[in-house]
């Protein structure tokens, strides 16, 4: 009975998430779908043909967006993992100040940050470049990465690392065989967050990229604001693809629990 209820709740949730996407599929192939018609006049591949043609730049933009989001995620891991470990495992002076500073980009409205950031990037010669956009994306991405990792490390027991080291493992071996498996589920969630936060940036990309770095959200908005529901829907469907893919790949793995990731042995 309880299992049935759970399945039902799961289905309801899934439906709630998937239902809004169904009209998108319709829009992307519809021609002459006007209120109050239930079905479109014609079905056409026009929007898809355009979206997938080299002239539209959608596929090139897909590649750019993936490159930016993946690099941003990687950099965020390199910075956020050690930072999260320090914040989660150690009590040190100024810790709350560091936390506040880390949270600041997530709390401040983006538009307030953008103008100053743009001036800085211009002076550095990074405005209008992909590296500039990646650096800019790190601003909203790092808080997520660091805070999730801090929460993961708060429950991490370093005694397991000590055991490995005392048994003769090198620091790298210790990290690879003890630390990483323990934090992997959390790291994956943090990486997913980081990827999707970067993937969905609009304002930062528009201002720092100056229009020259064309990510999918920019392209999507340009067609949405022109009232092209068919092309907007086709691009929107391409746009949600990576999120679904990543979720499908890691969904099974993020439920696992490592031995080192239990309630801490020491206070």
């Amino acid at each position: 009975m309880r299992a049935d209820l759970r399945t039902l709740a799961g289905l309801a949730l899934a439906g709630f998430l998937v239902l809004p996407l169904i009209p998108l599929v319709g829009w992307s192939v519809a021609q002459g779908w006007r209120f109050p018609d239930l079905l479109p006049d014609r079905i056409s591949a026009q929007a898809w043909t355009f979206a997938l043609s080299p002239q539209s730049g959608v596929l090139a933009s897909f590649a750019t967006t993936t490159l930016i989001a993946a690099t941003t995620t990687l950099l965020a891991i390199l910075i956020g993992l050690p930072a999260g470990r320090a914040l989660g495992m150690y009590r040190f002076r100024g810790r709350s100040l560091v936390l506040l500073l880390l949270l600041a980009p997530a709390l401040l409205p983006g538009i307030a940050v953008v103008f100053g950031l743009h001036g800085m990037m211009l002076r550095l010669g990074l405005a209008g470049t992909i590296p500039g956009v990646i650096l800019a994306h790190l601003v909203p991405v790092l808080p997520y990465m660091t805070l999730v990792m801090a929460a993961v490390f708060a429950r991490f027991d370093p005694a397991f690392e000590d055991q490995a080291r005392s048994l003769g493992a090198t620091p790298w071996q210790t990290f690879r065989t003890v630390t990483l498996p323990a934090i992997l589920p959390g790291l994956m969630i943090a990486a997913l967050f980081a990827f999707l936060v970067s993937w969905s940036q609009y304002l930062l990309t528009l201002s720092i990229g100056g229009g020259r770095v064309q990510t999918l959200p920019l392209l999507l908005f340009s067609f949405a604001s022109a009232g092209r529901n068919d092309i907007t829907a086709a691009i929107a469907l391409l746009y949600i693809l990576p999120g679904l893919l990543i979720l499908a790949v890691i969904a099974r793995r993020i439920t696992g629990r490592g031995a080192a990731l239990t309630e801490r042995l020491h206070p």
Partner: protein, 404 residues
């Protein structure tokens, strides 16, 4: 917000002469310009909301540039040219005078005025373009962009004239002048609306009512005049407030963009849409957004026409290549290609009579999309565009007295 920021920046910007690379270009022959342009890349910032226009630029234009001049055309789709004006402004503020990110902008009106006033434009080179001879600079509608003299700072690309669209299956006999349109609105409650300014198209509709209230455009040509404005404005607001209860949703709310207006029309909630570029009607029908029975018309008392242009910012690092792009866009062949209804259906900005015979024949055989009123028919009753100061005064007045 962006607009007020632009004003602040404008006020703080000192005058600046053209950059050295621009001066050097102006001293060259066209062949030397083309030589310098070879292998270059042009970042062209343009409104990106039409798949057909995008395909024309990224297809036909880009292919010819690559084949003939080894120039890479990078079309950068944008939503509002005002953003790009701000971008060039902030580059200037940051001291970026020779490595700007923008090489070419599709622009006109207020945005051109802002750029010209802030000295953000590369000027005085248009005579170098071989296809400059195809432009009739004696035509005041070409030589002035919303009343602001072009002064060799931009190159015309298309001419457009305001027109109304209706579904002939719903409204078979639409009103043909402003007075009967206003009467129609009152006898058909809830079937008409217009986008609230500062939407570009909504603002243009207001100017038609304004000119109607003034009894014609004659007293409104030239610089802004407060006394004339006050008198005409009083009558304009009276007309607009009178029709307000008969508008869509009793005028309690207005669409904020022409896109919303088009959507209301597509869904049959209102009976008219309108646009500065009637070719858009044909494109909407081709895209399946609007019914095939869509037809369009001008007003017998005239509709406003204007020209849109391409412009090179002062700090473009690829001016030579951008000039080659402009010259290609002006060519009879390129203008003919975009005049084809299946490509775009845009009216040429050049004098067709000055093009080679083959191009002239091509223009003669073009059949306008049935939903698009032919440019020649619209041109029979054309109104000039008012200067930008009138525009802003009308938009402000509307917000205070009608849209409140």
């Amino acid at each position: 917000m962006l607009r007020s920021l632009a004003v602040v920046l404008l006020l703080s910007t000192a005058a600046l002469a053209d950059t050295p690379d621009g001066e050097a270009l102006k001293a060259m022959t066209w062949d030397q310009v083309v030589e310098q342009a070879r292998g270059g890349t042009v970042n062209w910032f343009m409104w990106g909301g039409s798949d057909t226009i995008n395909a024309y630029v990224s297809g036909y234009v880009a292919d010819r540039l690559r084949a003939d001049y080894d120039i890479t055309l990078n079309r950068v789709p944008i939503t509002d040219a005002a953003d790009i004006v701000n971008q060039v402004l902030s580059e200037k503020e940051a001291g970026v005078t020779d490595a700007g990110s923008v090489d070419l902008i599709w622009i006109n009106g207020e945005n051109f005025r802002s750029m010209k006033q802030a000295d953000l434009v590369f000027c005085g080179y248009t005579g170098l373009l071989p296809n400059d001879t195809l432009i009739n600079w004696d035509n005041p509608a070409i030589a002035n962009d919303f009343g602001v003299p072009v002064d060799g700072c931009e190159v015309p690309w298309n001419t457009v004239q305001f027109a109304f669209a209706h579904d002939s299956a719903v409204v078979s006999d639409p009103p043909r002048d402003m007075a009967s349109l206003l009467a129609w609105i009152k006898s058909n409650p809830g079937r008409f609306t217009y986008p609230a300014p500062p939407d570009f198209t909504g603002s243009a509709f207001l100017r038609h009512v304004f000119i109607h209230a003034a009894g014609g455009p004659d007293g409104l040509i030239g610089p802004f005049d407060q006394a004339t404005f006050d008198e005409t404005a009083t009558r304009t607001w009276a007309i607009l407030n009178e029709i307000e209860p008969f508008l869509w949703r009793e005028g309690a709310t207005y669409p904020t963009t022409v896109t919303q207006l088009n959507e209301l029309f597509a869904n049959g909630e209102i009976d008219f849409s309108f646009n500065y570029d009637p070719a858009q009607f044909g494109l909407a029908v081709q895209a399946g957004t609007w019914p095939d029975t869509t037809r369009s018309f001008g007003l017998t008392d005239g509709t406003i026409g204007n020209t849109n242009y391409t412009l090179i910012p002062f700090n473009s690092p690829n001016k030579a290549a951008a000039m080659v792009v402009q010259n290609l866009l002006l060519s009879g062949e390129a203008q003919l290609e975009k005049a084809k209804p299946e490509v775009w259906g845009a009216a040429p900005a050049i004098e067709v009579s000055r093009t080679p015979p083959a191009v002239q024949e091509g223009f003669a055989t073009i059949k306008t999309h049935p939903s698009v009123v032919p440019a020649a028919e619209l041109a029979k009753a054309a109104l000039p565009e008012l200067q930008a100061d009138w525009l802003t005064a009308i938009e402000k007045g509307w917000a205070a007295t009608v849209g409140n």
